[in-house]
């Protein structure tokens, strides 16, 4: 059963179209990685799942269903109930999402309610130091704050955890441990995860499926290893090829050429077309419809033509390491 289902969602800010018809499904117990270029609308999609967008955001089209309920149509109390029952969020900027006037222990205690074991939950994110409980957010390092935010989101054992770059500020070791923790807890509890991240290897390793966003749309989705190891969309391929971790010392990496689009209305054609080495005439004018390539859903006019060619362009075999 589909726990989160985003269908053709269009979100506009004052002068930007952040989502331009995004589709995404997360089923019960599934872990989905959401990757994509900075500014492609990942955070917007994540927030939209809980109807947490700022007031200037307008939903143009589409709908979001969480546990079968249309999030954007729910009355306030039902919505609140839904968030509480089904959703857990870790926001992109963890330290800012902590109340600066409350000690960490108190904040966590507030989420847990009476009788909650604060130190147990902090321990799960490897914050065993008793000092942390009594610290204020500004007294924590960036990584510690992020772990606190994760602990708070996990504390209520939500059905779906939406984590926006939850490990970005963590060092590799802690990142591993925290990720392990989150994913194993999720597996135990049957929690689904929507994991917004830039860390492609980690996504490839941990997530069942991955969705790649570009220009406000999910341009490719499918089993994680498949998508990242054998991309069907030119953007996915380009992304996967530019990880700095992949480069040997002294080698100069090349980013995807060109700049990401800033949409103000619906894209006329494929948003990636200007940067795409395979673009054709129709890519500029015709919005691509989803096609199924192998196990992947792809938004590309030429997906079928390119099958096979993209994998060879991979310059980063370590992606799946």
């Amino acid at each position: 059963m589909s726990l989160l289902s985003v269908r053709n969602l269009v979100i506009d800010y004052a002068r930007t179209r952040a989502l331009d018809g995004a589709d995404l499904e997360v089923t019960q117990g599934e872990t989905v990685g959401l990757v994509g270029e900075s500014g492609s609308g990942k955070s917007t999609l994540g927030s939209a799942a809980g109807r947490l967008l700022p007031q200037s955001a307008r939903r143009g089209e589409g709908e979001v269903l969480v546990a079968g309920e249309p999030v954007f149509e729910l009355p306030a109390t039902r919505l609140r109930h839904l968030r509480r029952r089904h959703l857990g969020f870790v926001f992109q900027d963890p330290i800012a999402s902590l109340d600066p006037t409350m000690r960490v222990g108190a904040q966590l205690g507030l989420v847990l309610g009476r009788g909650g074991d604060v130190s147990f939950h902090l321990g799960r994110v490897r914050l065993d130091d008793p000092r942390v409980v009594r610290s204020y957010p500004h007294q924590l390092s960036g990584g510690m704050a992020q772990r606190v935010a994760i602990a708070m989101a996990m504390a209520t054992a939500p059905d779906l955890l939406i984590a926006d770059e939850p490990t970005a500020a963590l060092d590799s070791q802690v990142r591993e441990e925290v990720s392990n923790m989150v994913f194993s807890l999720a597996a135990e509890a049957g929690t689904s995860i929507l994991w917004l991240s830039h860390d492609l290897p980690a996504v490839a390793r941990r997530c069942d499926r991955v969705a790649v966003m570009y220009g406000g749309r999910v341009v490719e989705s499918g089993p994680a290893r498949q998508v990242l190891g054998n991309p069907a969309h030119p953007y996915t391929a380009a992304l996967a090829g530019s990880a700095p971790a992949a480069a040997a010392h002294g080698v100069r990496l090349e980013p995807v050429p060109g700049r990401p689009p800033v949409l103000t209305g619906p894209a006329e054609g494929c948003a990636f077309a200007p940067r795409c080495p395979f673009a054709e005439e129709r890519c500029e004018h015709e919005r691509p419809a989803p096609v199924r390539i192998r196990e992947q859903d792809v938004l590309c006019h030429r997906a079928a033509d390119l099958e096979g060619t993209l994998a060879q362009r991979r310059s980063a075999p370590e992606v799946s390491a």
Binding site: P54, Q55, S56, A76, L79, R80, H138
Partner: protein, 272 residues
């Protein structure tokens, strides 16, 4: 930056009308505010559209004159207060340490003097009149604003963008002016409109004591003080200036809030 909301625009329009109203009195529209034109305490009627006061003067030109006096006096006073409080509050809040202590103690000293004592002293030094009233309003309103601005500045001073500016080598005036001030401007706007109300009240009180605007010049404070004593016997005496005052302060407050919201580019979030 967002546009002013409809309520604030309404407030702005009201203020504009009041200013026109006051300007009208400069050109003698409405009549001579000091001339005795009819019997005392007459209800509104032809010749005195807002009635006559206890000396038989027409209330209308007096209200028009009063609006001008009061708006001018209080807004100058509030501007002075805002400028001084902003400077002291921001510097004290940002710098901390001894400077902070010094400013806060000074403010405390000012606070300890009841407004009336301050007013009498100021009037003693400057001689009674508008200038004394102005100085008194400033002295009465400065402490609160300074404290609040300081509190806001302390919070802002710890933000990373201030740190970034400092790293860039920005001079103090720049850090304070470009980073701290805009982020405490909301507080100043809100407290400024509040100070304006206090100012008008203080002005009225001072005139009542005899230290403010000197008779026969009219100010809203004076008119309302007088109207207050005749509230039941001659309600039109308070009605005219009262309505104008309420409209003025309401408008100022609403505009102040609007301004505050406008100064905040971020969107507030609804709690649902």
């Amino acid at each position: 930056m967002r546009k002013l909301d409809r309520l604030s625009i309404g407030g702005l329009a009201c203020l504009l009308i009041l200013v026109l109203f006051a300007l009208g009195s400069l050109f003698g529209i409405g009549g001579d505010p000091d001339a005795i034109v009819g019997p005392r305490l007459q209800p509104p009627g032809p010749g005195w559209w807002l009635g006559t006061d206890n000396l038989g003067r027409s209330v209308l030109p007096r209200v028009m004159e009063g609006v001008g006096t009061t708006l001018l006096l209080s807004s100058i006073a509030v501007l002075v207060t805002a400028a001084l409080s902003a400077t002291f509050g921001i510097v004290a809040g940002y710098r901390g340490g001894y400077l902070n202590e010094l400013v806060m103690r000074l403010v405390e000293v000012l606070y300890s003097f009841p407004a009336i004592v301050l007013a009498i002293l100021v009037a003693a030094v400057l001689g009674p009149g508008q200038f004394a009233a102005l100085a008194s309003i400033v002295l009465v309103t400065i402490p609160l604003m300074t404290r609040l601005v300081r509190a806001a500045a302390v919070a802002v001073a710890q933000r990373d963008y201030v740190t970034s500016a400092v790293i860039s080598g920005a001079r103090l005036p720049r850090v304070l002016g470009r980073h701290v001030l805009p982020n405490v401007a909301g507080t100043i706007a809100v407290q400024g409109t509040y100070a304006l109300s206090v100012g008008i009240a203080v002005e009225g009180g001072l005139s009542f004591l005899g230290f403010g605007v000197q008779p026969p010049q009219a100010s809203l404070g004076v008119l309302i003080q007088q109207g207050g004593t005749y509230m039941i016997a001659a309600p039109w005496l308070i009605l005219g200036p009262g309505v104008v005052l309420v409209v003025a302060i309401l408008a100022i407050n609403v505009v102040g809030d609007g301004l505050r919201d406008r100064l905040e580019p971020r969107e507030t979030r609804s709690l649902t």
